[in-house]
């Protein structure tokens, strides 16, 4: 067909220039003219029309042929088929409801899951040309995995000045500010950033200006504020630029307001105030060296905008050369440092990708089961329509026309099911987001958008083909020669029974894979929850506050913490109170190098271990067992001899069986001392899972905060009054200094819950999907067995008439069900053994081939199969022989 003819036909279809009526008139006229001629030849009036019709053909057939020619016949056929399908489905409401619900479950789960994947993995970062944003990290070449992804200021400055593959390279770190407003102090999340961060991201302030390069120098106290702070704290004042704001008791000049949608760093809670790295170039004591000069201190993140001509790989190659140069120039600090460039989106998504894809595969399995169920339903229904098909074939419908009609029915079902599925997904997203770990990027923006709708529609279409194609061909394959009931029986041959059996096997196998996956995750999650973190998390309330350096020089901070702890311990209902940094399971970890007395190593090979600052009574407060020696006491003050407590793993790794008490280590940690002091080990405590419940604790050492305070401390209070205590703590603090803000107020149990949020999310969803899958499988099996029994009513009647005992008939049916299930189990177990490898990284303490899980799944499926086939089997034993035989 030429394009012109296409257009003309389309036009004809739309306009219907010649109506059916017009065509029919013309054909009738033709027939009349032919009859006239017959009459002229002397044919008797009675038979003239009949003979004419024989000669020129029937009007109806010519109409059909002409309709084909007229426009796009398929378009008209489609409309007719859809109308017909709707009528047919309307006449079988039971079937329709079951089919639509099955599909709604399958597609709804898929589109909900996909909307999450769309928001987290697919939706680009909200910056111009987001694909050119890359994360750069300094890595320890000796570490095999789990590199931290951070960098040090001097490394960053060197990268920035020499890298040519980046248009801009910027650094940032998250921080918090205490903002005092109207006598009330509160905590505002914020970030320290380099002056060109906004250029890197491709964003401009909505009001005012960006930072300038000379504002990276110490003393340039300038800030950008978020739109929401501007509105809430400054009443959206139009003259905000140039005004002063007091952050951490220091005055900053506001130079601009960011657009409302600006969200960077991509973390929760979102930063509200940005200041320049002048903050880290500042020193309180002129003798100190600023953080911007500490090449060994890796605590900033780096993001760059690649040039249009550069790629991740070329940037990686260039920075490796630069890093190698730095390693030569600064062997002590950078000797073992390499560099890693990754796309910013990949860095943010991290290992979430794997677990989301596993979940998507799982919902895919659920949909597959739903489709198989529907195919089975349609096959059974098709068998009942043999008479209809035979009649339509006899009336001249070609087979492909029937197939198309049946496929249209499937499409209508799919459309209804997918529509309900979308509604289901829409309703379940809120729930899904609530269950999801909050820290995953994009999860706060899960919506049903165009992409999700398109995905769902395509999925619905594919489903319709999967569940509709085979039944359509089966049903339409009737022989028009045999009419009526005989045809209806003829289609019940072995072929079809085998097909239905195969579908059950597929369904069972997919169900097994789902169940095995869910079983493994459940077992692993159970293990995780039973894992003791090394301390007792119940009845612990934690909170943090920040002492501004400007008003609290080093020693004053220590005294303040001492004082606060003293007051907290006196509060009613408080068992004990302590302070620490970093807080276990809070996500932050300090790793600091140390030297071991009597062991000489070059500086670049220095050992390092986890580090913590604690108050006296910290381990007692957390119920961490003291294995040897003593805990810190108030006597371990800033003037007392330097002491340190190590954990069990540290003791074992560095001292083996020897007694570590009295041994000395020298942490690379200096505060007020001229030189780093040696510290004597005075105690050994039990191991704490600091980072994650699933991660074994590393060697760690702790110093009294009075002998090495390097960051704000968190308060830890053990109390029976976990709700009321928060106000008490707040009041205690406010009495001492009303300009301090308490933040991150949470119970330790909340930290524990957050640390298992990701596995819980994955486990819960997979278990849910598996439950849906199992239910659908059971329904499918029930359907097949019930149908099989109904088909074999006569056979059972004869068997019973010939003296078979009901138990034998029951066994016959159950055996055939078990044979199908067994085959499905075998296929499923083999497939499951491969599929669970995908889960390996998500499992904790359980092997992907855990025999107990596989056995439990098999037992469960067999039990479900027996229940699902028992009802039809019972029915088979109750067949009345006489009635069964007569009915034929």
């Amino acid at each position: 067909m030429t394009p012109r003819e296409w257009a003309r036909r389309l036009w004809a279809t739309c306009r219907r220039t010649r109506s059916d009526r017009d065509l029919e008139d013309e054909l009738t006229a033709h027939l009349e003219l032919a009859a006239d001629e017959e009459r002229r030849r002397g044919t008797p009036e009675g038979s003239a029309v009949r003979i004419a019709r024989l000669r020129v053909g029937a009007v109806a057939q010519a109409m059909e042929a002409q309709r084909d020619q007229r426009g796009f016949a398929w378009l008209e056929d489609l409309a007719r088929d859809v109308r017909f399908a709707c009528r047919t489905l309307g006449k079988a409401p039971g079937f329709t409801v079951v089919a639509v619900l099955t599909l709604a479950l399958g597609t709804g789960a898929n589109s909900a899951m996909f909307s999450v994947i769309n928001a987290v993995l697919l939706r680009p970062l909200p910056f111009p040309f987001p694909e050119r944003l890359a994360a750069v990290a300094s890595i320890d070449l000796r570490a095999t995995a789990g590199a931290s992804g951070s960098a040090s200021w001097p490394d960053f400055f060197d990268w920035r000045s020499s890298a040519r593959t980046f248009e801009h390279l910027s650094a940032y770190r998250e921080t918090g500010f205490t903002l005092v407003d109207g006598g009330r102090a509160f905590h505002v999340p914020g970030a320290v950033v380099t002056s060109d961060l906004l250029s890197t991201l491709g964003v401009k302030p909505a009001l005012g200006r960006d930072f300038r390069i000379n504002e990276e120098r110490a003393g340039a106290d300038v800030a950008l504020i978020s739109d929401s702070i501007w509105r809430s704290q400054f009443a959206a004042a139009p003259d905000i630029v140039g005004r002063a704001v007091t952050l951490n008791s220091r005055r900053f000049t506001i130079v601009g307001v960011m657009p409302p949608a600006f969200h960077f760093p991509v973390s929760v809670p979102a930063a509200q105030i940005w200041i320049t790295n002048a903050e880290d170039a500042r020193v309180d004591n002129p003798a100190d060296s600023p953080m911007t000069a500490e090449r060994g201190a890796h605590f900033i993140r780096v993001i760059g905008r690649l040039r249009a001509t550069a790629s991740i790989a070329s940037a990686q190659a260039e920075l490796e050369v630069i890093a190698a140069g730095l390693a030569r120039a600064h062997p002590d600090d950078s000797g073992n440092r390499g560099v890693r460039v990754a796309s910013e989106l990949d860095r943010l998504v991290g290992d979430t990708r794997q677990s989301l894809l596993v979940l998507l595969a799982a919902v895919g399995c659920v949909l597959l089961i739903a489709c198989v169920n529907l195919a089975n339903l349609l096959l059974a229904r098709g068998a009942g329509r043999g008479r209809e098909m035979a009649l339509r074939t006899a009336l001249g419908a070609p087979q492909r026309r029937l197939v198309r009609q049946l496929l249209t029915e499937s499409l209508v079902l799919a459309t209804l099911g997918t529509g309900c599925g979308l509604a289901l997904a829409y309703g379940s997203i809120a729930l899904l987001v609530r269950l999801a770990p909050v820290t995953v990027r994009g999860l706060d923006q899960v919506t049903i958008d165009g992409v999700v709708v398109a995905f769902t529609a395509i999925m619905g279409g594919i489903s319709a083909l999967i569940f509709g194609l085979v039944p359509a061909f089966q049903t339409a394959r009737t022989d028009s020669g045999i009419g009526g009931a005989a045809t209806a029986r003829a289609t019940q041959g072995r072929g079809q029974r085998r097909l239905r059996g195969a579908l059950v096997i597929v369904e069972t196998a997919v169900g097994v894979v789902l169940l095995v996956g869910a079983g493994l995750l459940l077992r692993s999650f159970d293990r995780l929850l039973r894992t003791a973190p090394g301390f007792e998390s119940q009845h612990l309330v934690t909170a943090t506050f920040r002492l501004p350096d400007s008003r609290y020089p080093y020693l004053k901070q220590i005294l303040f913490y001492d004082d606060v702890l003293l007051d907290l311990r006196a509060l009613p209902g408080v068992d004990s109170a302590a302070a620490t940094a970093p807080l276990p399971l809070s996500g932050s970890r300090y790793s600091i190098s140390f030297q071991q007395s009597g062991v000489q190593r070059p500086q670049s090979e220095r050992l390092s271990a986890d580090f913590g600052m604690v108050s006296p009574g910290y381990f007692r407060t957390l119920h961490v067992p003291l294995l040897r020696g003593r805990e810190f006491s108030d006597a371990d003050s800033d003037v007392a001899p330097r002491v340190v407590i190590v954990n069990e793993r540290f003791a074992r790794q560095y001292f083996g069986d020897a007694n570590p008490l009295g041994q000395r280590i020298k942490p690379g940690l200096s505060t007020t001392e001229k030189e780093m002091p040696w510290r004597e080990i005075v105690g050994v405590v039990g191991d704490i899972r600091h980072q994650r419940l699933s991660e074994e604790s590393r060697p760690a050492y702790f110093v009294p905060y009075a002998q090495g305070l390097i960051s704000p401390l968190s308060l830890v209070v053990r109390t029976n009054n976990t709700t009321g205590i928060v106000e008490d703590i707040r009041r205690t603090l406010a009495r001492k200094d009303p300009e301090l803000a308490l933040y991150d107020v949470r119970t330790m149990d909340e930290y524990v819950a957050t640390s298992v949020a990701t596995p819980r999310f994955q486990t819960l969803l997979l278990a849910l999907f598996a439950a849906v899958g199992l239910t659908l499988t059971a329904i499918g099996l029930y359907g097949v067995m019930a149908y099989g029994v109904a088909q074999r009513t006569r056979e059972f009647g004869i068997r019973l008439a010939l003296g078979a005992r009901p138990a034998e008939v029951l066994g016959l049916v159950l055996r055939s069900a078990l044979a199908l299930i067994a085959a499905g189990l075998i296929v499923g177990v083999v497939a499951g053994a491969f599929a669970t490898r995908l889960l390996a990284s998500a499992l904790y303490g359980v092997s992907p081939l855990d025999p107990a899980t596989f056995a439990a799944v098999a037992a469960m499926l067999i039990a479900v199969a027996l229940v699902a086939s028992y009802v039809p089997a019972r029915r088979a034993t109750r067949v009345d022989p006489i009635a069964a035989i007569r009915s034929e």
């Binding site: 006229a29 010519a62 001249g396």
Partner: protein, 115 residues
């Protein structure tokens, strides 16, 4: 969807258009029945067009703008749709006629070659 005599129609497909156009050139505007009768007569009854073959063909020609149909009245006072060849139809006929003659002469000389 075509009905079951589509096989026969397919054989005629290429030639039906040219036969109809030629008939319309010879007879002037006539209705469908007259075209069928004329073809039957010219072919001595070898060509008997059913409505299912003739009218889709006519419709195709009309869609391509080669003929134009208009309702009118026959000499017996019956309503019928009369078809007339258009200018485009005449050009098409001339082109196909030349092509057809060429093919026929090639076939003729080929089939009558001396062994």
């Amino acid at each position: 969807m075509s009905n079951r005599d589509s096989g026969k129609a397919d054989i005629l497909q290429g030639t039906l258009d040219i036969m109809v156009l030629q008939t319309l050139t010879t007879l002037g505007p006539v209705h469908g029945y007259a075209i069928a009768a004329r073809l039957e007569q010219v072919s001595n009854g070898a060509i008997q067009l059913t409505m299912g073959t003739l009218y889709p063909g006519l419709m195709r020609l009309e869609q391509r703008g080669l003929v134009r149909g208009k309702w009118g009245v026959t000499e017996n006072n019956r309503k019928a749709r009369f078809y007339a060849i258009t200018a485009a139809g005449r050009r098409q006929l001339a082109a196909e006629k030349a092509e057809w003659t060429r093919t026929a002469s090639i076939m003729h000389s080929l089939l009558n070659e001396a062994p």
